[in-house]
């Protein structure tokens, strides 16, 4: 098992590469979700203000 983690002496290079790859995939999905939610809320609030102002 420890041999598996040692990766024939290349542990740092191999594990960092795979970690970066997985981290990138997670960020690729999570970051836009957070950003979009914020942007949508903002846009909705703007719409509500416009709607409230136009009411008699």
């Amino acid at each position: 098992m420890s041999e598996f983690f040692a990766m024939g002496g290349y542990a740092f290079y191999v594990w960092t590469s795979y970690a970066l790859f997985v981290l990138m995939l997670i960020l690729d999905v999570v970051l836009p979700q957070l950003g979009a939610r914020r942007a949508l809320k903002e846009a909705m609030r703007r719409q509500q203000r416009v709607a409230a102002r136009s009411k008699p």
């Binding site: 024939g8 191999v14 836009p32 979700q33």
Partner: protein
């Protein structure tokens, strides 16, 4: 109009695309996650070490699929940018602009993992070789498209300008691809051929194939999710968004 054309035509309508993407996003990630997990498992634990590079070559299974995606996504962005500029289709503008950040992620990972592979094998993190340099230019093109899109306030004008830059930048795609043939590079040539015989050991193909299909599915899922979100923001004043969105109540 035949049914396929009609379907395409209707997909251009935002509420229809919203529903369509909502249906397909879970399937895309449902295919992508198991395949990428399988690829990682096979690549790290099952495939035997290389006779020359030992275990360091396992980086290939994240580096090569990322590099292919970096070019594939640029091609997808170019096609959508072209459609957006010629036919002024709003959905294509959103699709093209959603491609840029995904492509930038894959390009960044390609460069980082390439660097992490280059250090133990070539003895250097970086060299100004044609393949590495053109891939770095690719990253700057993605960032340029994103920056230009965000720099202009009027959203449709911003999309047109950014699509134009994407289209011009596509000249870099064949340069990245053929750099290892046109110039004498430290980076090796390709060992995988779609047509003809690959010079790669057959044992290395299953994890690579799982990663290639997995990353494609991931890209489509991410593209649909980003486009769907961007469209929702762009259309937030429209009635169909107001009707479906719970944020309005809060």
């Amino acid at each position: 109009m035949n049914r396929l054309l009609l379907w395409f035509h209707q997909l251009g309508s935002p509420p229809n695309f919203h529903a369509f993407a909502g249906r397909w996003i879970p399937w895309c990630f449902g295919v992508a996650v198991p395949l990428i997990a399988l690829g990682i498992y096979l690549g790290l634990a099952v495939v035997p070490p290389d006779y020359q590079q030992g275990d360091s070559y396992r980086i290939l299974f994240v580096h090569v699929p990322s590099a292919w995606m970096s070019l594939f996504i640029y091609a997808a962005m170019t096609v959508n940018a072209f459609i957006a500029l010629v036919w002024r289709i709003k959905l294509s503008e959103h699709l093209a602009m959603a491609c840029a950040p995904i492509g930038a992620w894959f390009t960044a990972v390609t460069l980082a993992t390439g660097s992490l592979w280059g250090k133990p094998m070539w003895g250097t993190w970086w060299t100004w070789d044609a393949r590495l340099t053109s891939e770095l230019v690719l990253l700057f093109l993605y960032l340029g498209v994103m920056g230009l899109y965000n720099a202009i306030d009027e959203r449709r004008a911003a999309a047109r300008a950014a699509c134009f830059l994407a289209l011009i930048g596509s000249v870099n795609i064949p340069i990245v691809h053929y750099s290892v043939e046109w110039w004498n590079t430290l980076h090796q040539g390709s060992t995988i051929r779609v047509f003809g015989k690959s010079s790669m050991d057959p044992s290395m193909l299953p994890p690579l194939l799982a990663m290639v299909i997995g990353t494609k599915a991931w890209f489509i899922g991410s593209l649909l999710a980003r486009t769907r979100a961007a469209q929702l923001v762009a259309e937030s004043g429209k009635e169909w968004v107001q009707r479906l969105n719970p944020v309005r109540a809060s």
